[in-house]
């Protein structure tokens, strides 16, 4: 008889909820970015509305994790797994908030002639979502080499951020008519940079689970 069967099932359930939350966050992010690119207000509104689903899932996972700690009094890998799950879900929740923020910026830009082509925002989004999949996979598979890749990709996002910032602020000096849109593009640039930082936190949590040590990959 496996004395840990119930506990193992609970840990699996916790992980499944986290994966579900991650898929919802990626989907929200893709929809928010599509709305931004295609200037689709309806889709942007939908992303903002649906954020509640992710928030509720975050609360549900938190309560479940607290109950597991109280009930099972876990040690070693089990304890690290639950603590890492708690931290990861709160990072995913913040990432979903940034998706909603991009949707809000999209609504503010409205139907003005899009200046997205001035920027590398799309590449930043692509890299970030790739990083998010890798970070969560590194946690699930216990794969430390993916953690390293995430840390390296974050450097690329930071470079795009700096480049975008330069381009947009230069445009702002010359193009006063599009100030509103350019300011929103600056915000989106910032949201994407922060998103990548939260994804790097997720990779740190995965490293904590795998190695039992606390890392700071954002410094």
């Amino acid at each position: 008889m496996n004395a840990r069967k119930n506990f193992d099932n609970s840990l699996q359930e916790l992980q499944n909820k986290m994966i579900e939350m991650n898929e919802l966050a990626i989907s929200a992010f893709e929809k928010a970015f599509t709305a931004f690119q295609t200037q689709n207000m309806e889709l942007a509104l939908k992303v903002i509305e649906d954020d509640t689903v992710i928030d509720n899932l975050d609360i549900e996972i938190n309560q479940f994790a607290v109950w597991l700690i109280a009930k099972e009094q876990p040690f070693a890998t089990d304890l690290r797994r639950i603590i890492a799950s708690l931290k990861i879900t709160s990072d995913i929740e913040r990432i979903a908030d940034f998706a909603a923020n991009i949707a809000k910026a999209t609504i503010k830009i409205g139907t003005a002639h899009s200046l997205i082509s001035l920027t590398n925002l799309e590449q930043m989004k692509e890299i970030s979502m790739n990083m998010l999949q890798m970070a969560v996979t590194s946690f699930i598979d216990g794969n430390i080499s993916l953690v390293r890749e995430v840390a390296d990709l974050d450097d690329q996002v930071d470079n795009h951020y700096a480049e975008n910032y330069k381009r947009i602020t230069e445009e702002l000096k010359q193009n006063l008519e599009d100030t509103t849109q350019l300011v929103q593009l600056l915000f989106i640039n910032r949201y994407l940079e922060r998103t990548a930082d939260h994804i790097t936190n997720i990779a740190e949590s995965a490293a904590y689970l795998i190695k039992g040590q606390i890392y700071d990959l954002n410094s």
């Binding site: 840990r4 009094q73 040690f75 070693a76 953690v147 974050d154 450097d155 606390i214 890392y215 990959l217």
Partner: protein, 275 residues
């Protein structure tokens, strides 16, 4: 951040910055070197080497039959009472080899013991605590009164029993009896207290009281505790040794053992995968 930095982070944090390694090492009280113990032909302990620090709590954990209680009993030569026990290796307390010294009585005065079940004598609370000092020849009523009060206070039971010192100790609750056993042990002014599953027969509140007491006692005594309760080991001890099949598999700072043990067998045991 680059991969190289991750590697550097890893090394520096693991080796230097980790709070788990920031343990102030105290002086060694008990030093065990290459200890082997046989019950007849059956070997129960294999090549045990361990340094136990003074005024710290050291927990011994491991599945039933792993040798942890046997090891505990070697520290005050309780195994001498069992026929057919053979021991090799050294155990020194304060640099004195306890198996070369012939004065076992003096050793057991210095190294007190508290057992799984309270084992008070069928006499009054006062007489239980005064028993050891009387055997040592202390006759002065005033001196005995002082020792009894001091010991019962030291065991955090004085306030509960001070009005009934002359009544039978066996009328106390299990938790109270166990604390009187601790008072009886500290009445002998030991330097080391061995505890063999001291709370396994107690309810949760009594268990917490004994654990609080252990935290207070370590200011003055070196404590070695065998426990099956992993949470208890995590709560009360500074260092933990994991025993398996008569060997010490891992001995480290308690935080390390319970959050990130080195050996897979320790990990499997503390997470309930076996044992």
């Amino acid at each position: 951040m680059s991969t190289a930095l991750l590697e550097r982070n890893k090394e520096s944090k693991e080796e230097e910055l980790s709070p788990m390694n920031q343990q102030i090492e105290k002086a060694t009280k008990i030093s065990v070197n290459d200890l082997n113990l046989f019950y007849g032909d059956k070997q129960a302990l294999y090549n045990i080497s361990i340094d136990i620090q003074e005024k710290q709590v050291t927990a011994l954990i491991g599945p039933s039959g792993c040798g942890k209680s046997t090891f505990l009993r070697t520290l005050n030569r309780m195994n001498d009472l069992i026929d057919g026990v053979k021991i090799s290796g050294d155990i020194t307390i304060d640099h004195e080899n306890i198996y070369q010294s012939h004065d076992v009585i003096q050793l057991r005065t210095k190294v007190g013991m508290v057992f799984q079940k309270p084992n008070l004598f069928p006499m009054s609370i006062y007489d239980n605590v005064a028993y050891g000092p009387r055997m040592q020849g202390i006759k002065s009523k005033r001196e005995l009164n002082r020792i009894v009060e001091e010991s019962l206070r030291g065991a955090a039971i004085w306030d509960e029993v001070k009005g009934r010192l002359k009544t039978s100790a066996l009328g106390l609750s299990g938790g109270q009896q166990q604390r009187v056993c601790i008072a009886r042990a500290i009445a002998m002014k030991p330097e080391v207290i061995l505890m063999d599953e001291p709370t396994s027969a107690l309810d949760p509140i009594s268990t917490l009281k004994v654990e609080e007491l252990i935290a207070q006692l370590k200011k003055d005594y070196t404590i070695v505790i065998v426990t099956h309760n992993m949470q208890q080991a995590a709560r009360v001890s500074d260092k933990t040794a994991f025993f398996l099949n008569g060997e010490i598999i891992e001995y480290d700072v308690t935080k390390k053992i319970f959050s990130n043990p080195k050996d897979q067998r320790t990990e499997d045991y503390v997470t309930g995968r076996f044992g």
